[in-house]
C-alpha cells in the first residue's frame, strides 16, 4: 500500500445517462475497497471543475455530451477492475423492484373508493376509536364501534354528527348487528324476514332473534346502538335514527326495541317518536314490569298472527337439588343476567351481583359471595386484558369449580351464547366442567340450528352432562326457580 495511487481519466462519446444515475454509479464505484476517488459524470463545465478540484481533469477539450470517467485506485489491478465496474454499472438493467401496495392506515383511507353501501367496523382501543369513527361519518358511511372505553361525551358528539350526515353510529361497545343479512360481531345465523330489531343490548338481540327464528320468523336487520344509547346522557340519539331508518326500509314490517332498563325520560321520548312512525314499534326494554324478553317475542308473534311454538328445550338429568339451595347465575350476556335477576327477584328476594338491580346489592370484587348471586362475566371490569367469556370461558369455568368446592347448596344457571364470533364449540370445555362439578344445572342456550355450533348438537351434549337446556333464558330462569322451590319443599 506504499505505492502512490494510480489514476484513470477518460472521455467517451455517444454515452448518456442522467445525472442521478451517474451519481449513483459514482457512489457504487467509490464504495469499492481499492478505489480512492471517483467522478463518473457528463463533462459539463461544473463537473469538469469538480474533477479538476480532485486532480482528475481530462486532457484536451471535453464536450458536455461526453461522459467523463475519472478515478484513482490503489494499484493497476484495482483501477482496471473499477473501470470495468463502471462499464458494468452503466449497462446494468435497473431492478424494477417488487410491486407493492400501500394498505390504508385509517378508516378514512380505507373507505376511499370502497363499494357502496359500505360500513366501517372499529375495534381499536377506545381512546383511538373516535377519530376512526369520525372518518366514517365524514365519508358519509355508517359505523359499528365495537370498542369500549369511549367517553360518553364523545359518543354524543359522534352520534350528533352521524345524524346530521344521515348515517348511523352503532355503539360504542356494540357487539351485535345484522345488516342486510350480514352478521357483524356476535350474531346468530337467523333467517331473514319482516322484523327489524333496534338493540341497545347485544345478547338481548341475540335471544330475541333466535327465538323469532325458532318460531319461523326472520329479521330484516338488527341495528345495535350501544348499551348507553338509552341513557340520560345519550338520550337515544342512535335509537331514534335507527327507528327512522327501519321505518323507511321496505323490508321491515315491524320493529322490536331491545334494551336493558332505559332511563325513563328517554324511554318516554323514544315511545313518543315511535308512535308517530308508520311501522309498528314494540318495546322489549327490560323493566320490573316487563322483565321477560321471551314474553315480548311472544307478543310480537301475536301481532304477526304467528302461533307461539313450544320453545326448544332438553330436560336433562339434573342432580338432586339439596335443601336450601341458592341461585348461582353465571352469565356471559349482561342483558340475559339482568333478565334473570328481574324474573327471579320476586321469588327469591335480593340477588347480589356485579351488575346489580340496585346499587346496595353490588358484589364488589367478591364473586364467591354466598347466597343468591348473578355474575355477569362479560362486564367490562371482568374483561380487562382478556377476551369476552363468549370466546374465553376460563374465568367462568373457574367459578363453577369454586362453587362446587365451596359446598354451598346451589342451583347453577348459565347462559351459553352461540353464533358468529362465539366459542366454536362451547360444550367441549363446559361438559367436563359440569360433570366434575356435579351441581344441578340449568342452561339458557341462545342460538339457532344454522349457527356454526348448531343449537341441538350443543343442547344434546349439555343435556348428556346432566344440564336442563332451554332456548329461552326466561324459561331457563323459571326452571331454575322451580328446582330451588322443589329443594325448599
Amino acid at each position: 500500500m506504499s505505492d502512490s495511487p494510480v489514476r484513470h481519466v477518460s472521455l467517451r462519446s455517444g454515452v448518456y445517462a442522467d445525472s442521478v444515475r451517474l451519481m449513483q454509479v459514482s457512489r457504487e464505484i467509490g464504495d469499492r475497497p481499492g478505489v480512492h476517488t471517483v467522478v463518473v459524470a457528463m463533462a459539463t463545465p461544473l463537473n469538469l471543475e469538480l474533477a479538476a478540484g480532485m486532480g482528475l481533469a481530462p486532457d484536451g477539450e471535453a464536450k458536455p455530451d461526453q461522459l467523463l470517467i475519472a478515478l484513482t485506485a490503489a494499484d493497476d489491478a484495482e483501477l482496471a477492475a473499477a473501470v470495468a465496474a463502471v462499464d458494468a454499472a452503466l449497462t446494468a438493467r435497473a431492478d424494477r423492484g417488487e410491486a407493492q401496495t400501500i394498505p390504508a392506515r385509517t378508516i378514512g383511507a380505507g373507505l376511499d373508493g370502497a363499494d357502496d353501501p359500505a360500513l366501517a367496523i372499529i375495534s381499536v382501543p377506545g381512546p383511538y376509536a373516535v377519530a376512526e369513527a369520525a372518518d366514517a361519518i365524514a365519508a358519509g358511511r355508517s359505523v359499528l364501534i365495537f370498542s369500549d372505553g369511549v367517553p360518553v361525551e364523545h359518543e354524543v358528539a359522534l352520534k350528533r354528527a352521524a345524524h346530521d350526515a344521515g348515517v348511523l353510529v352503532m355503539g360504542p361497545d356494540c357487539g351485535t348487528a345484522i345488516v342486510s343479512g350480514l352478521a357483524l360481531g356476535f350474531a346468530n345465523v337467523v333467517r331473514r324476514g319482516p322484523v327489524g330489531l333496534v338493540a341497545a343490548s347485544g345478547t338481548g338481540a341475540q335471544q330475541v332473534s333466535c327465538l323469532l327464528d325458532a318460531a319461523g320468523v326472520g329479521v330484516s336487520h338488527v341495528l345495535g346502538v350501544g348499551g348507553r344509547d338509552l341513557s340520560e346522557a345519550v338520550g337515544g340519539l342512535a335509537t331514534l335514527d335507527a327507528l327512522a331508518a327501519l321505518d323507511a326500509d321496505p323490508a321491515t314490517e315491524r320493529v322490536l326495541l331491545v334494551s336493558k332498563p332505559p332511563a325513563p325520560a328517554v324511554a318516554a321520548r323514544v315511545q313518543e317518536v315511535a308512535a308517530g312512525l308508520s311501522v309498528p314499534v314494540r318495546s322489549a326494554a327490560l323493566s320490573p314490569e316487563q322483565p321477560d324478553l321471551t314474553a315480548a317475542v311472544e307478543a310480537l308473534l301475536g301481532d304477526l298472527g304467528v302461533a307461539v311454538p313450544e320453545w326448544p328445550s332438553r330436560p336433562g338429568t339434573a342432580a338432586a337439588v339439596p335443601a336450601g339451595a341458592v341461585l348461582k347465575g353465571f352469565y356471559s350476556g349482561g342483558t340475559l343476567a339482568d333478565e334473570t335477576m328481574l324474573i327471579a327477584a320476586p321469588a327469591l328476594g335480593d340477588i347480589r351481583s356485579n351488575t346489580p338491580l340496585r346499587p346496595e346489592l353490588d358484589l364488589g370484587t367478591d364473586l364467591r359471595a354466598t347466597g343468591h348471586v348473578v355474575v355477569d362475566f362479560g362486564d367490562d371490569a371482568l374483561t380487562v386484558g382478556r377476551a369476552h367469556p363468549m370466546i374465553d370461558p376460563t374465568l367462568r369455568l373457574e367459578a363453577i369449580a369454586g362453587l362446587a368446592e365451596s359446598g354451598e347448596p346451589a342451583v347453577l344457571l348459565l347462559d351459553v351464547v352461540l353464533g358468529h364470533g362465539a366459542d366454536p364449540d362451547p360444550a367441549v370445555a363446559l361438559v367436563p366442567a359440569l360433570r366434575s362439578a356435579g351441581l344441578p344445572t340449568v342452561v339458557a342456550l341462545v342460538g339457532t340450528e344454522a349457527d356454526p355450533q348448531c343449537w341441538s348438537r350443543q343442547a344434546d351434549a349439555l343435556a348428556e352432562a346432566g344440564a336442563a337446556v332451554f332456548a329461552s333464558n326466561a324459561a331457563a330462569t323459571r326452571h331454575a326457580l322451580s328446582l330451588i322451590g322443589d329443594g325448599h319443599e
Binding site: G97, I107, D116, V179, S180, L246, G421
Partner: protein, 471 residues
C-alpha cells in the same frame, strides 16, 4: 326519496375494518367484501388532542374551504422587477428561507449566502467586512415567507435582485421569487466567490432587464401553473427535477426575449443561461405553489399545512388554522447522492423554501411522476409509486390539474392534514438539493428528506388548543 343510511339496508355492505381480525374472518366466511385497515396507534400526539380535532365540527368544512382555495388558485407571470421596488425592500435588509433566524443560529450555507449578498449589494467591502456587519446586527434578516416571497435553498433575497412577479387570478393573490442562478457554486447554496458575484451582477444588469421587457411584451401573461401540470406528464416532479418545465418556460419566453431591443450577444447569453439551467423553472414553480398555499391562510378550524420551510438550522411549518405562527424544530439532513467526492459529512441540514412544492402536492408527493428521483436513495420505481401512495393518505384532496400518468392520471396528493400525519405516523416526503455545510462551498448533492416530527407535534397541540378555545 333517498334510501335510508345511504342504502345500507338495501344490500349487504362492503366492510372496512380497523382493529381485531377475528371479525373480518367471520365476515369473509359469510362472503362479505372486507378491507382490513393496517391500523396502528398514532405516530404521535396526545389522544385527547386527536379526538378533540377529530370531533371539531368545523374541521371538515374548514379543510374543504382551505384545500379548494389551493386547487382553485392559478398562477400568471405578470412582471419581472427588482426586489427593492416590488417588496419595498430597503437597504440593509435581507430576506432568507425558512422560519426566522439570527446570524448566530445561521448555518454555513445561510451565512455564506448572507455574506455574498452583502458584498453584492456593496454594503460590505469584502467577506470579513460582511461577516462583521452581519454579526453586529447591522443587517435586518427576515423570512421570505413574511413577504409573500419564497426562495430556494438559502433563499437570500436582496434589494438589487430581480423577482418573478406572479398573480393568482382566482384569489387575487401575489407572490414573488428571485431568479435561479443555476447549479454548483451559487449564492443560494452558500457560495460567494467571484464567480458567484459576477453572475449575480450579470443577472442584475442583463438578465433581469431583458426578462422584464420580454415578459412585459407578451400579449398575454405566461400561465405558469399550466407548465407545472405539463411537467408532471414529462418526468418532472417540480422540485428536484425541473428539466421539462425549464425547457417549456424557455420555449414560451424565447420569442419575447429575442424581440427585446438589446445587444445580440446579451440575448444569446440570456438564452444560453436559461437553456443551460435545468432548475430555471423552480423559481417560477415555487411562487406558483406559494400563491395557492397563501390562498388557504387563516381558515379557522382547518388542520391543513400551508407552509413547509427550512432555514438550514430549523424546519418550520404553518397551518391554515393557526395563521402565521411557526412550529419549528431542528432540521434533518437529507440522504442522497453527492457531487464529486463530497460525502454525507459535507452536507448541511435541510434548507430552503422550496418544500412549498410538497405543501402544494408536487415534488416528493408526486414522486411517482418522476421515478428517476428515487434513485437518489437507491430506490426503485415501485418505491416512487409507494411514496405517492402514502402521501395520498396524508392529504385532503387530489389536484385535478396536476395529474400523474403512472397513477392512472390521478391528481397529485394535495393539502397535508396534520391530523392524518399524526394518525398514520408517516411524515411528508420532500425532494431537495443539498448545500455544503461550510460557508462558500455551494452544492454538494441532492436527495430526499423528511421534516422533523416535532413540528407536527407542536402544530397538532396548538390546533387542539385552538379547537378547545373555539368550542
Amino acid at each position: 326519496m333517498s334510501e335510508p343510511l345511504g342504502g345500507l339496508l338495501s344490500a349487504p355492505p362492503s366492510i372496512v375494518a380497523a382493529g381485531v381480525e377475528v371479525f373480518s374472518t367471520a365476515l369473509r366466511q359469510q362472503g362479505a367484501s372486507v378491507t382490513d385497515v393496517d391500523w396502528r396507534p398514532p405516530g404521535f400526539g396526545n389522544p385527547d388532542d386527536l379526538t378533540q380535532l377529530a370531533l371539531d365540527p368545523r374541521r371538515a368544512a374548514a379543510n374543504r374551504v382551505a384545500v379548494e382555495r389551493v386547487l382553485a388558485a392559478g398562477s400568471l407571470l405578470v412582471d419581472v422587477r427588482p426586489a427593492r421596488e416590488v417588496l419595498d425592500l430597503p437597504d440593509r435588509m435581507l430576506l432568507h428561507s425558512g422560519p426566522p433566524l439570527t446570524w448566530e443560529t445561521a448555518s454555513g450555507p445561510m451565512r455564506g449566502a448572507l455574506i455574498g449578498a452583502c458584498v453584492f449589494e456593496g454594503w460590505a467591502t469584502d467577506v470579513a467586512d460582511a461577516e462583521r456587519i452581519l454579526a453586529a446586527g447591522e443587517i435586518t434578516l427576515d423570512p421570505c415567507h413574511h413577504h409573500r416571497t419564497v426562495g430556494p435553498m438559502a433563499g437570500v433575497t436582496s434589494p438589487s435582485m430581480w423577482m418573478w412577479c406572479l398573480e393568482d387570478p382566482a384569489n387575487g393573490g401575489q407572490a414573488w421569487c428571485n431568479l435561479n442562478e443555476g447549479l454548483g457554486k451559487v449564492l443560494r447554496m452558500g457560495a460567494y466567490n467571484d464567480e458567484v458575484l459576477t453572475r449575480l451582477a450579470w443577472m442584475r444588469d442583463v438578465l433581469g432587464p431583458v426578462l422584464q421587457r420580454a415578459v412585459r411584451s407578451r400579449p398575454e401573461p405566461l400561465d405558469v401553473k399550466a407548465i407545472l401540470a405539463q411537467m408532471l406528464q414529462m418526468g418532472d416532479e417540480g422540485h428536484n427535477r425541473n428539466r421539462a418545465g425549464s425547457l417549456m418556460a424557455l420555449r414560451e419566453l424565447s420569442p419575447s426575449i429575442v424581440g427585446v431591443d438589446a445587444p445580440a450577444q446579451d440575448i444569446a447569453e440570456v438564452l444560453r443561461f436559461i437553456g443551460g439551467n435545468e432548475h430555471f423553472y423552480l423559481n417560477l414553480g415555487m411562487p406558483t405553489a406559494k400563491l395557492a398555499m397563501d390562498a388557504a391562510r387563516d381558515v379557522p378550524g382547518s388542520t391543513m399545512v400551508t407552509v413547509l420551510s427550512r432555514n438550514g438550522t430549523e424546519f418550520g411549518i404553518q397551518t391554515a388554522g393557526t395563521g402565521d405562527r411557526w412550529f419549528t424544530a431542528p432540521a434533518n439532513t437529507p440522504v442522497g447522492l453527492y457531487l464529486g467526492d463530497y460525502g454525507p459529512e459535507d452536507a448541511n441540514p435541510d434548507i430552503g423554501d422550496s418544500a412549498i412544492m410538497e405543501a402544494y402536492g408536487v415534488g416528493g408527493f408526486s414522486m411517482a411522476a418522476a421515478p428517476a428521483i428515487v434513485r437518489f436513495v437507491g430506490g426503485t420505481v415501485p418505491d416512487a409509486l409507494a411514496t405517492t401512495e402514502r402521501m395520498y393518505q396524508l392529504t385532503l384532496a387530489e389536484n385535478p390539474a396536476m395529474q400523474i400518468p403512472i397513477m392512472g392520471f390521478r391528481g397529485s396528493p394535495t393539502g397535508i392534514d396534520v391530523l392524518q400525519v399524526a394518525r398514520t405516523g408517516w411524515l411528508p416526503q420532500i425532494n431537495t438539493g443539498m448545500a455544503g455545510r461550510v460557508a462558500g462551498t455551494g452544492q454538494v448533492g441532492a436527495g430526499l428528506v423528511q421534516p422533523p416530527q416535532a413540528c407536527f407535534e407542536q402544530a397538532l397541540a396548538a390546533l387542539a388548543q385552538e379547537s378547545r378555545a373555539a368550542s
